[in-house]
Amino acid sequence: MALPTYASTGQTVWYYAFRVICGLIFFFLIFPILTIIPLSFNALPYFTFTPEMLRLDPAGYSLEHYKDFFNNPDWQGALWNSVRIAPVATLLSVAFGTLAAIGLSQSHVPFRGAIMAILISPMIVPLIISAAGMYFFYSRIGLQGTYWGVVLAHAALGIPFVIITVTATMVGFDKSLTRASANLGANPVRTFFKVQMPLILPGVISGGLFAFITSFDEVVVVIFVGSAGQKTLPWQMFTGLREQISPTILAVATILVVISICLLTVVELLRRRSERLRGMSPG
């Protein structure tokens, strides 16, 4: 709401005060993330700005911590494990999730509410409870401490995100298109890949990105379900933060922030595209 020309002094003051408050809150939201970026280039192993850094003296900055990240076998092993686990878990959640989301958006689904509640539950149940249950159950069936145990657990955690985004996309899907395709002689599989899939693809991709970030970021379940051989990047960060906090963590954090900025950009672009296609965006 713009300030009208007839506003009284009190209203003007409040108008700008409100903007300042909002500015402060935005600052609160963003500054912890932004502060760690310059701190990660600190030449000394401290967690605060050194006088050299404040003077913008190049000697105060270095790539020391980044070098450590790329040379330390612990961190490299963790990175490799994360890269090995997250895509497979994402693939599983997307494949199962998309199929189910298509099923769920049919007009007549028996027990829809109950099924939806079960499928969304991994997102609602606290992670520590999921982790405890999976730890007990997976050790019974011999999956605890294995690669596949972690992948299955992460796939289960990613499924609600895929279901939510894909069903949301399906709402705008014109069902007469599948009928038209069938009418023209395509079988259901061909209809799915040639007609339905291209149209719901933005939803599927953003669901997949959510599932990916869930797995890539996840630490509670992997600590319990995994063993030392499945140590992922967040797990390594968690141990680092709890035991001997080293500035390398800040370098890793900065790299992860850059990755999340990339993911966020992709999701935003997809969302805008799909809104534009459906004529819901201002352009």
Partner: protein, 423 residues
């Protein structure tokens, strides 16, 4: 309708001569089956990888098979002992115990039984260990009761035997009682000694901190959501990115950022000292206590408050406020009587979501909470990985799960799970 006129008596027929009603219901059934067939793989997957583990945890919280499995004969023999007689069990029970222990010591399961009973009766663990070391030196032909009593007087303790009898069933409520700071003592259920009551305190603290965090999120998030909803779409889309960036940033990154910023020698204290608000020798303790948990968790959960609030506020026409003002309302009245009531659904959605998420949080309290800012989930993790009292961990988990499910149900009633929006 031609079919109906051709056959006025019979049902309406479809083109292939089948009654229309049956043909329609068959088509509907086929449609339902197809939908189910599409959902089935995922449903089975989630049930196997997620629901079964949760069910296993529920089962573990009441399971007690270790006692009847390790000392089966003793458990049976105790059935004939009258625990109200005021006398320790007689020779048959001790003979059964001797036979059971011989097997248990060979399989090294007696120490596990000892630690299980130790949760209920202090001293049981050392009793079983001590006896286990000597059981093969006992004389089978002589009366065994005296020999057991020679090893440890504890075997003559009536309360101990009453305890063993109480916990010799396949199922037990002991873990749940333990989680509620109660115990199943000789005189029925009683509360534990004051010094051992920690779980009620922890549940209480979890609730208080979660409410504080939720309220903080609401207070901080409401102005932002309001601003985003009233600004022109282009500007609000730009600003929304500032909300979404923390949402997409790794949880560990945000927690480590706070850990670094809030330290006594960290950036925030440095700034406060530089401004002169705080003396250099009286730097604030912002981390490893409840303050640290509240600050970091408010930051982490804020997007979950702002996004639902924003999506509700977007639909409130700002013209209503203008109309109220043109009818003579002050700015405050227009907001409080017209705008605010319409934003209540958003507040409900955001608050429940924040509360559900915060009540089960583990990572952030573990890293920045110290000892006074930890939640019940940290205790669950401790019992799984350090104290190995899995039954108690499962019971605590069940209580937490029950709370969350009630809130989830509420959320479903108020918002609907279908309406959950991401970004």
């Amino acid at each position: 309708m031609t079919d109906a006129t051709a056959n006025p008596e019979g049902p309406i027929l479809s083109a292939d001569g089948v009654p229309l009603k049956r043909s329609l219901s068959r088509a509907l059934r086929r449609q339902k089956l197809r939908a189910l067939a599409l959902i089935a793989p995922l449903l089975i997957f989630v049930i196997l990888t997620f629901i079964a583990p949760i069910a296993d945890m529920l089962f573990r919280s009441v399971e007690n098979s270790i006692v009847p499995e390790t000392i089966p004969a003793t458990a049976a023999a105790l059935g004939e002992w009258d625990e109200t007689s005021g006398q320790a069990p007689g020779e048959p029970v001790f003979r059964a115990l001797y036979e059971d222990l011989k097997v248990a010591v060979e399989e090294k399961t007696h120490t596990r039984l000892g630690s299980r009973l130790n949760y209920e009766m202090t001293g049981a663990s050392s009793l079983f260990r001590k006896t286990g070391r000597r059981v093969d030196r006992m004389d089978e032909s002589a009366p065994l009761k005296e020999q057991f009593l020679d090893i440890d007087k504890g075997w003559g303790d009536i309360e101990f035997w009453q305890g063993v009898k109480r916990f010799s069933g396949d199922y037990t409520a002991g873990y749940f009682l333990g989680a509620a700071d109660l115990k199943d003592g000789p005189d029925g259920i009683e509360s534990k000694p004051e010094s051992q009551q920690i779980y009620m305190l922890l549940f209480q603290r979890t609730l208080i901190l979660s409410v504080t965090i939720t309220v903080a999120c609401l207070l901080v998030g409401y102005p932002i959501a309001f601003l985003l909803a009233t600004l022109p779409l282009r500007t609000s889309n730009m600003l929304l990115i500032l909300v979404l960036l923390p949402f997409w940033t790794s949880l560990l990154v945000r927690t480590s950022a706070w850990k670094v910023l809030l330290q006594q020698q960290g950036v925030i204290n440095d700034i406060l000292v530089y401004i002169g608000l705080v003396a250099d020798n009286a730097r604030l303790e912002l981390i490893n206590n409840a303050t640290g948990t509240i600050i970091a968790m408010t930051h982490i959960l804020l997007p979950f408050m702002i996004l639902p609030l924003f999506s509700v506020m977007k639909t409130i026409p700002i013209t209503y406020v203008r109309a109220a003002k043109s009818l003579g309302a002050t700015d405050w009245t227009a907001f409080w009587r017209v705008y605010f009531p319409q934003s209540v659904p958003g507040i409900g959605a955001g608050a429940i979501l924040c509360f559900i998420l915060s009540i089960g949080y583990y990572i952030t309290p573990e890293l920045v909470g110290g000892t006074t800012g930890t939640f019940i989930s940290n205790r669950i993790a401790y019992h799984i990985s350090s104290s190995l009292n899995w039954g108690l961990a499962a019971a605590l988990g069940c209580i937490l799960l029950a709370v969350v499910l009630v809130l989830y149900w509420l959320y479903d009633r108020i918002v609907g799970i279908d309406n959950v929006k991401l970004g």
